[in-house]
Amino acid sequence: MSTVALAPSDLEAPEARLIGAARQRGMGVFLLLAAVVMLFGFGFGTPAHEETTFTFTAPPAIAVSPLNMAARPVSIVLALVCAIVGLVLILRRKGRGTYLIFSFGIMLFLWSFLTWAARGNSLNFEAMLADTLISTTPLVFGSLSGIMCERSGVINIAIEGQFLAGAFLGAMIGSWSGDLWLGMLFGAVAGGIFGALLAFLALRYGADQIIIGVVIVAFCTGLTNFLTQEVLTPYQTTFNSPATFSPIAVPLLSKIPVLGPVLFDQNVFVYLAAALLLAINAGLFRTRWGLRVRAVGEHPQAAETVGIRVLRTRYWNVILGGVIAGIGGASFTIGSVGEFSADMTAGLGYVALAAMIFGRWRPFGALGAALLFGFAVSLQSFLAVLNVGIPPPFLSMAPYVITIFVVSGLVGRVRPPAADGKPYLPE
């Protein structure tokens, strides 16, 4: 009797155990609630016979005709499908693919929401996707920066500051030299310097990493505000009018209808983010380097006793993390608006951190979360045009509200690297 009592939990695959049965049920219940909102809010909340049109920017080769939908029936059908997905999550045994199923449900909800929001109107769906991707890009850089640091056991809450430093220096050098690549390089260096500062204080002196991070953000905010006022604004044409990277269309792939232009006609930052995502994911989970980094982040003493240099590993990872965040910062200016303005990152560094947590310290998990946040960011500008009756200030809150939900409740208890944030001071 007693020997079988605990046996089942011993035999389960580790991945399956990470997603607890309770959390899976929680996701299912969340989707059921979403289905109720979809049914009564979006479905019956839309006047009958009202139509929604999703349009697509047609590439020269293949035209995609606009999609006309009767808003109410579509939302009702979507609500039912979403409810079924929720029930599946509640009833099925825990196992792989939980997050994929959950993401599918969330997509149904978003579809239904857009159908309702654009009722009696038309929405450029493709432009919205493209905008989502652009909003997502800095978040991907930010959360990859967080993953690099925290997988090695150092909390990098300074991503916001590294964003600002990278955005500022990227714009300034890009504008002054006229060379955008040089701007990106300096953006990376700026992030790297603050990564090095974090690493030095945290690793050399064992200082509290959260406090160092907050201080770095405050410092970067103050410094860039001051320099903007004193240097960028008076000498706007010299220092704050960089060009921006223009989109590079990938041959053939960019001709795919709808998704082609969204994914394969973007600027270099998007491709760089994708490449880093693949590289870090493979590096962490498939290489000797990744095994060692994760060992350092989970159990530094164990790593030390097999000859891995814990502090050196952490220095490198935190500095590289800073570099990645710095490049992400540069994308705000020379990858997007072509100008630095005070506080332009608007807390997205913290949102990136939330994406990292929601993504359970995994690159692709973080990508999924970043897409959700990126969508929320781009949503506000589109909804403002559609005039859905929600005041614009509330719409701008959306990404942050989602962040709070995600960090507090929805993800439940996630397990960070065991030594995350804990100083390691040998002897």
Binding site: M1, S2, T3, A5, L6, S9, D10, P14, G20, A22, R286, T287, R288, W289, G290, L291, R292, R294, A295, E298, H299, Q301, A302, A303, E304, T305, V306, G307, I308, R309, A418, P426, E427
Partner: protein
């Protein structure tokens, strides 16, 4: 490989941890390093393993002087260490843990998992240490985790293997199996340095024994020429009593009554799985079991520190199933927690404050919502004298006291109010022999005063010495109840879950007696 340590000295500030230590381990020898906690064994091993640098002295391997700047260098020279607290990454697989730092790779540093797994399988067959390379380490029982640690050293081709207190987490049978492995490794020409404070084990397995006390080597001997008593006095520096003196118990009414108790751990797993137990006034019930079989959670549940998923806890008939820690204290439960530094004391507070943590808010220590510090101070003075607590002053932080004195502070606090139940988890873990004697005496004295005592210990010697009745816990259940005359062998089997008599016996215990059983439960048959 022959190891020589010559005149090793290591100080931490004013504390001399190792003072002119000489030690020689011959090739193919099992050499035991015996000493109490704080004798300097761990410091010496950390010096040898490159984790600490000695102030002076020399390390020689096969006659050649060596210096290690870090553990990596020690490993490369053929030194392997199995740490007391395993150096394993819990979320990694067995294979990942074993090859970490020496990973087989393909081009570009790509981790070659296939080769790693194949190497582990081959290695585990070669040494008869059975492990599955793809298992996640945190899912494995500690005995298997230890096997992984040993394989980790062997994978690096260790020719000198240091085992630091390896048996503290093992059942008696697992210990014997470990000894067999050690012997076969020694026969194959590897040297083994076995660090322990357990006398019986030393005599069972050692070729030679070196005893350390207060940072110095007291002497080197062999199992043939020394016995337990002699080793103990070498270790402690005076002659010691190895058995607890106690009269037969005279149990009276039931005090603690557990029925169908279910408790979950932090991960939501049922770690106490339907437990029934009665503890009577005037008896000591000792719960034996390898660490991590639910004892910690059981103690926490009784003390009100952990919610109960199902079942009841009654004290003198009063229901304490949903009691807070304060309710439990006020109801008359004294709790000596397993981890005295995190759960038993507030380390930064003074000895005097720690002595009244339970009743600081009640008269005479507080009046009208403000504390009466004069009474707190005079109370501390009394307790320091009564319990022989060695502290320079009652106002010093309790963190500055030695482990033994910290434990006495907890005992002094818990035993200074009227209590019905004394619940003590691992009451002597990490204590020196002198303190162990004292703690055991105090526990027996409480029993003789008519208090019901529940001891939880993973040290079988302690369970056998203290318990009037013994319950064996395995995977959240009692696999047997017996009296202390039962053989170690049989208790060991119950600790490993091999001998499972829970169904019949647990039911019997609930009713109070089961004459049909071969393992006796009755109150009268207590052998001191």
């Amino acid at each position: 490989m022959k190891l020589e340590l010559c005149g090793i000295r290591k100080t931490f500030g004013r504390l001399v941890a190792n003072d002119d230590v000489d030690l020689t381990v011959e090739k193919g020898e099992i050499h035991c390093l015996l000493g109490e906690n704080g004798a300097g064994k761990s410091t010496l091993m950390n010096v040898l393993f490159g984790l600490l640098r000695p102030d002076s002295g020399e390390i020689r391997l096969d006659g050649e002087p060596v210096r290690f700047a870090n553990p990596g260098e020690a490993v490369r020279r053929g030194i392997g260490m199995v740490h007391q607290h395993f150096m394993l990454v819990p979320v990694f697989t067995v294979a990942e843990n074993i090859v970490l730092g020496f990973e087989p790779t393909r081009a570009l540093g790509w981790f070659n998992r296939k080769k790693a797994n194949a190497d582990i399988v081959r290695l585990s067959q070669e040494f008869g240490l059975d492990v599955s390379p793809d298992a996640i380490v945190e899912d494995l029982p500690v005995g298997v985790q230890q096997r992984v640690e040993i394989l980790k050293a062997l994978y690096r081709d260790a020719r000198l293997l240091i085992l630091d207190e390896p048996t503290s987490v093992l059942t008696p049978q697992e210990t014997l199996a470990l000894f067999a492995v050690m012997r076969s490794l020694a026969t194959s020409g590897r040297s083994i340095l076995f660090i322990t404070h357990k006398l019986k084990e030393v005599l069972a397995v050692a070729d030679r024994i070196t005893v350390m006390r207060l940072g110095r080597v007291v002497g080197t001997t062999t199992p043939e020429t020394a016995d337990e008593k002699e080793l103990a006095s070498m270790m402690v520096g005076r002659s010691v009593e190895l058995v607890v003196q106690k009269a037969p118990a005279s149990p009276r009414a039931t005090v603690l009554e557990l029925r169908g108790l279910v408790v979950e751990d932090d991960r939501g797993l049922r770690v106490v799985d339907g437990v029934d137990l009665d503890v009577h006034a005037g008896e000591i019930v000792a719960i034996a079991g390898v660490q991590g079989n639910g004892q910690t959670e059981l103690a926490e549940a009784i003390a009100g520190l952990r919610p109960i998923a199902a079942g009841t806890v009654r004290l003198d008939g009063r229901d304490l199933s949903s009691a807070s820690p304060r309710d439990a204290i006020r109801a008359g439960i004294a709790h000596v927690p397993e981890d005295r530094q995190t759960d038993g004391l507030v380390l930064a507070l003074s000895v005097a404050d720690n002595l009244v943590l339970d009743i600081y808010d009640l008269a005479p220590f507080a009046r009208h919502g403000s504390r009466d510090l004069a009474t707190v101070k005079s109370n501390a003075g009394e307790k320091l004298a009564d319990f022989d607590i060695r502290a320079s002053d009652a106002e010093v932080p309790v963190a500055t006291l030695s482990g033994g004195n910290q434990q006495k502070v907890i005992l002094a606090r818990e035993l200074s109010r009227p209590i019905k139940l004394l619940l003590a988890s691992q009451p002597t873990r990490g204590l020196d022999v002198g303190s162990i004697e004292y703690v055991h005496e105090r526990i027996v004295a409480e029993r003789d005063k008519g208090v019901a005592v529940l001891i939880i210990s993973s040290e079988l010697d302690e369970v056998l010495a203290l318990g009037d009745r013994i319950a064996v816990m395995y995977r959240g259940r009692f696999t047997g109840f017996c009296d202390p005359s039962t053989g170690r062998e049989q208790i060991g089997l119950m600790m490993a879950g091999v001998l499972d008599e829970s169904a019949a016996l647990a039911a019997g215990a609930a009713e109070g007696a089961d004459p049909a059983s071969s393992v006796t439960l009755s109150r009268g048959s207590v052998h001191p």
